[in-house]
Symmetry: C2
Subunit: 289 residues, 2 copies
């Protein structure tokens, strides 16, 4: 199986457990709705690519980590879209979960996906118990408080935002988690991969700012212009499109250059350059090609 097939298989397996048998029908339907069809599956692809670059020592653990990371990403999208945050009606080109199923079910979909993510890692690493705790600790750190997605989202409720902590927690943390989990699942050393994760996380943040400012629906599928409406920091507003684009290119080069030498490093560098085009708003990608 290639990476996208392995990712979808891992997510399908997790959802099969989470929506089995006596699951309330609306919850089961809404959990699937939140996860399929997916977006770019950027984070799980990164996780599996790093695992492959490290020799793919435990494919089952890597697939579980990748699935867990995507489930957690989807959970954060469902909760972030709710009226108490972005109040977004559209996600990935269809109505968001709370619009389609109501706020109560949307809340539970997010909770259920978070639990399912950790359950998936526990279930799929039983054969290799020394992986379970490091994988769960690494991924939990990337999504929880004080360093992960939960903290990132909470910064938006603060009167006085710490922009560096905000961006690191809201965007970079899950890239770092994906990279570290991929390395861990293949007996690699996560520390060797942190500068790649940092550069990619920062690149993604700039790309997201560009989408938002250029009035184009981003790879996360959220409507444009939300940063300005919600008074959030955005690099394009601060430094202009050309400066942001230049910074994005530098970050992508930095990411590719920071891939450590290993059996899969060429493949990973090629993937990063390809991602860079995919990351860019279409108008910019056309002019940059």
């Amino acid at each position: 199986m290639d990476l996208p097939e392995r990712i979808e298989a891992g997510i399908h397996l997790a959802l099969r457990y989470a929506t089995a048998n006596c699951c309330p029908p609306q919850l089961a339907k809404a959990m699937r709705y939140a996860v399929f069809p997916g977006g770019a599956r950027l984070r799980p692809r990164l996780c599996l690519a790093v695992a492959a670059a490290c020799g793919d020592r435990d494919p089952q653990a890597a697939a579980a980590a990748a699935a867990a990371i995507e489930l957690l990403h989807c959970a954060s999208l469902v909760h972030d879209d709710m009226p108490c945050f972005d109040n977004a009606d559209i996600r990935r080109g269809k109505t968001s979960v709370h619009v389609e199923f109501g706020q109560g079910i949307a809340l539970l979909v997010g909770d259920g996906l978070i639990v399912s993510a950790f359950e998936t890692i526990a279930r799929e690493t039983q054969h290799n118990p020394r992986l379970t705790a490091p994988l769960i600790a690494t991924i939990a750190n990337a999504v929880g408080s004080p360093n992960g997605l939960v903290a990132g989202q909470a910064w938006e409720s603060e009167a006085d935002i710490n922009v560096s902590h905000y961006h690191r927690a809201k965007t970079a943390s899950l890239f770092t988690g994906a990279v570290a989990a991929g390395a861990l699942a293949s007996d690699g050393n996560p520390r060797d991969w942190f500068s790649l994760a940092d550069a990619l996380g920062a690149a993604y943040q700039v790309a997201d700012d560009l989408y938002d400012a250029m009035d184009e629906t981003g790879s996360m599928g959220k409507p444009a212009g939300q940063d300005q409406r919600n008074g959030r920091p955005n690099m394009v507003q601060e430094r202009g499109v050309q400066e942001a684009l230049k910074h994005l290119r530098e970050l992508v080069e930095e990411a590719a250059a920071s891939v450590p030498e290993c059996e899969g490093s060429d493949m990973l560098r090629a993937m990063i350059s390809k991602e860079a085009i995919r990351l860019m708003p279409k108008k910019l990608a056309a002019s940059a090609a």
Copy 2:
């Protein structure tokens, strides 16, 4: 340390990590508000009591499991109180989290506590890796979908409620999880303890129905009369106070009788009888004394 001290120490440790350093201040404050001061800490006490009855083979793992279970219980209370569900203003005698901090922070407090629960188990079982996956799988099953709290709450959004699945998922599951986790952390066999967990979960459900119907604030600190307002099944409405009370007594006897013979069985039976009084609404406990 006695059980309550060990429980509070475990929860304090988890919160110290979750609210460390760069945590957004409102989130940190709200996470602590949701967890301290606690209610009866019934589920973690049960977890530690079973671990003690099995010989307390790994006190650190047992304390982590107990703390995780309480964090997950608190998370479910915060989310259940939100306007899209119970819209409850009061919890444990003070304003509920969403009233005090807003719905956005309440949503994140729940998410953060869920993540912190699994992170706590991963961190505190590193010395004993063969415990990590079973503990996390057991506790995830008790709080997630399709068997746990998330599914239980989702049944309330169904037009056609399966009452047996609803009560099992919403109430019994976390008792079962607490008991099973306590046994696992002490190398016991969770299967030996399931009938105790079932009886206690059912007893707690009847007690909760009694509180609700008798217009008295329950041990969970939620306002009375919510079942009738929300059209939820309640045993007292169906079979009357005396019948419900009789059933509660039978279930407590059944729970005490189902404690397997082990080094701590007498202590555990005594604890269950004491809990039975604590479980009852005060008006009934006075007449039953």
